[in-house]
């Protein structure tokens, strides 16, 4: 049996287990001046330096990686079998802070257009050599693996929305096949960068978030475990879109945040025995959690 034992969330409402989602999400004006009219939900309450064990790695981490590591550190991760443990995350688009490119653009523009000769001769030297590590979209997964020493099967699954649910399915498949004794699954995204905000409509309330879960293959579930079941009928249904409307749309993390919300409901309401998690926009991915015992 595949069970979900614990979830962790790093979002605007805090860092911790599913109870972080009890409170109201704190939306605020976007701190980027060009987008000050936008309502966003940054995860402002956590200090990355306080949660990252490998301090030297901090300068290599983009915001999504920091969120993912914070959530991972909040999970009760087993000490055993880490070399074989799996890691499956929904991850988002590449980063897009124009400030990181300002030096390059200052040296490379000629009449409002990029002059490649100037870019090669002078512009590129103004870039942070480590910029690639901030834009490679697999990095949240890699940093979590390094922080926790996870060496087993993996999957960084590109997620524009509900696809993070598929990261849970991939983890459950790996556990069922015996490829790992336990795994972390979830999603992380930080879509409050200049480029993403410039591309998305003004009505969207975007949010930073990471939500992770500890999944295990067990013969006998422990008290409090929830079964990660095949999609099917359930007492209650929640959608990724409803979750995003309430907590803000965290894009690649939104499917994982819906899983955390399902766990919160199951643990708060004894009469709810199972919850189906679906996406209206992406019907091909769905999940179901149910009580055991």
């Amino acid at each position: 049996m595949i069970v979900l034992r614990a979830v962790s969330v790093c979002a605007a409402s805090g860092l911790g287990d599913e109870r972080v989602l009890d409170g109201e999400t704190l939306f605020c004006a976007c701190p980027l001046a060009q987008f000050a009219q936008r309502r966003v939900a940054p995860a402002a309450q956590f200090d990355p330096a306080a949660v990252v064990a490998q301090r030297k790695s901090l300068k290599l981490m983009n915001r999504a990686a920091q969120l993912a590591v914070a959530a991972a550190r909040a999970l009760p991760v087993p000490a055993r079998d880490r070399e074989r443990a799996g890691l499956f995350l929904g991850v988002g688009m590449s980063g897009g802070e124009i400030a990181q490119l300002a030096g390059l653009l200052d040296e490379s523009l000629d009449g409002g257009e990029v002059d490649l000769a100037k870019m090669g001769a002078n512009g590129l030297a103004r870039l942070n050599p480590l910029l690639s590590f901030h834009v490679l979209n697999n990095m949240p997964l890699c940093h979590v693996s390094i922080e926790l020493g996870l060496g087993g099967p993996h999957g960084a699954i590109y997620a524009a929305g509900a696809e993070a649910l598929d990261a849970f399915a991939a983890a459950a498949d790996a556990l069922a096949a015996g490829e790992a004794p336990w795994a972390i699954a979830g999603g992380a995204d930080a879509p409050l960068d200049t480029v993403t905000l410039a591309l998305r409509g003004g009505d969207e309330r975007l949010a930073e978030a990471a939500a992770l879960a500890l999944l295990l293959a067990v013969d006998e579930p422990a008290p409090g475990d929830l079964e990660w079941a095949e999609p099917g009928g359930a007492d209650r249904e929640i959608t990724v879109e409803e979750t995003a409307a309430r907590f803000g749309d965290s894009l690649a993390a939104s499917g994982a945040l819906a899983v955390a919300e399902a766990v919160r409901i199951l643990r708060m309401h004894a009469d709810v025995r199972s919850i189906a998690i679906r996406s209206a926009a992406l019907p091909s991915v769905s999940a179901r959690l149910r009580r055991v015992g």
Binding site: Q34, G112, L116, L150, G151, A198
Partner: protein
């Protein structure tokens, strides 16, 4: 577990498009590395790459089909390459339309900022995007070509079943094929279009990889020379490779002729550093040891190595191969087609299949003076394949490893 076979291959590579042309060029020992033509790179630290041909008719067709601006498709070339290779693979495998449930397991790289767009919106005084022109109207080619549009375009080539896109840096292609094979083995899909597409042959791609010190600074055809004593970096390549995977029973039932069999797949994480591989290759060893066990420990006659030509990767990989596989023939296809990043594993898996479709091992080009730390049985010129199976390795930036074992058609 069901047996999984390859029934179709599609390739767009720096050595030509189509599996036949690719096979002929690889086994001729040709090298596609040359001066960058996609943009003016004369003042860049790296001035060579292995480029695939971007056909303007295909750009126009993709622009029409996707609504993307042709300019974006010329800068971020992976969509056009991917659509062409996906269509080839489907046409290779199926006489007519592909099955409606054909799934997609897809490896992909990162989004590339479209510098002309960024430049047009940049306010030098504020050193940021011009607030008065934001938000810009949502269009498919603005600022960067969204990965969503790339995934949709590949799916629309004929894979309309379940889909999943993997981002594992340089291991994406191998992972996508391996996971797609696992879907079939577990019964989660009957047929899968699996592969990858990528291109970093653009100013930001070449510039950023140069800054990392990953690219050879030499403007020479042999700039990428894996296992060489004087190797000094890799060369950026590009392209796409897709495979149609089916259950053996399903392929036989419809009278398809398999090209090869996927015998096993495994992945692992280094959990070491994002900037460098594990110094002993522990993660690579785990991936290889696990895939060999899952494949039933066949006699491996050939390993197509990740083989980047960087000082750090090659010696560690050879030691890991010798420790897990034993003495076997080793080839590194990046010496001929460069490093196609997310697509590298898929292109190199196609080179690995030559063991079974042509009975020949793909070589490592330019291996004049072997690094003693890389000592092994290197395939310096194509040779006859001898063994039961072949192994393909891919190791991604950040420590994501993937290995596949393939065998001959049943």
């Amino acid at each position: 577990m069901r047996r999984v076979v390859v029934t179709g291959v599609g390739i767009v590579s720096p050595l030509g498009a189509g599996y036949g042309a690719f096979a002929e060029a690889i086994l001729d020992g040709r090298c596609a590395v040359g001066p960058i033509r996609a943009f003016d790179a004369r003042t860049f630290a790296a001035t060579v790459a292995a480029e695939a041909t971007l056909d303007e008719r295909e750009v126009a067709a993709c622009a029409e089909a996707t609504g993307c601006d042709p300019l974006a498709l010329r800068i971020d070339r992976k969509l056009v390459f991917g659509v062409r290779a996906a269509r080839q693979a489907i046409a290779h495998a199926f006489d007519g339309a592909p099955p409606p449930g054909l799934a997609l397991s897809f490896g992909i790289g990162l989004e590339v900022l479209l510098l002309p767009d960024v430049a047009s919106l940049y306010d030098p005084a504020k050193r940021d995007l011009d607030a008065s022109r934001l938000p810009i109207p949502r269009r498919k080619n603005a600022l960067r070509l969204s990965l969503d549009h790339v995934v949709d375009a590949i799916a629309n080539a004929g894979a309309r079943g379940r889909r999943r896109a993997y981002v594992a840096a340089c291991a994406s292609g191998t992972q996508a094929v391996g996971e797609g094979a696992s879907w079939i083995a577990r019964g989660a899909a009957d047929a899968v279009l699996a592969g990858a597409t990528d291109s970093m042959v653009n100013p930001m791609g070449v510039g950023c990889f140069s800054l990392l010190g990953a690219l050879s600074p030499r403007a020479a055809a042999d700039a990428c020379r894996p296992f060489h004593r004087d190797r000094d970096g890799t060369v950026i390549g590009e392209g796409a490779a897709f495979f149609v995977l089916e259950s053996l029973d399903g392929a036989r039932a419809r009278g398809a002729r398999p090209l090869a069999e996927i015998l096993g797949y495994a992945s692992s994480l280094d959990a070491h550093r994002v900037t460098a591989p594990h110094p002993r290759g522990d993660g690579a060893r785990r991936a290889m040891a696990n895939v060999l066990a899952r494949a039933g420990r066949p006699r491996i006659g050939y390993v197509n190595a990740h083989g980047t030509g960087t000082p750090q990767n090659d010696a560690v990989e050879v030691q890991a191969i010798r420790a897990t596989v034993g003495e076997t023939a080793i080839g590194a296809t990046k010496s001929q087609v460069g490093h196609a990043m997310a697509a590298a594993g898929a292109l190199e898996l196609a080179a690995t299949l030559l063991c079974f479709t042509h009975g020949r091992c793909a070589p490592t080009a330019h291996l004049g003076a072997l690094d003693p730390a890389c000592a092994a049985d290197h395939v310096v010129a194509p040779r006859a394949f001898s063994g039961d199976a072949a192994l393909k390795n891919s190791f991604g930036f950040g420590g994501q490893n993937a290995s596949i074992v393939v065998g001959g058609a049943p």
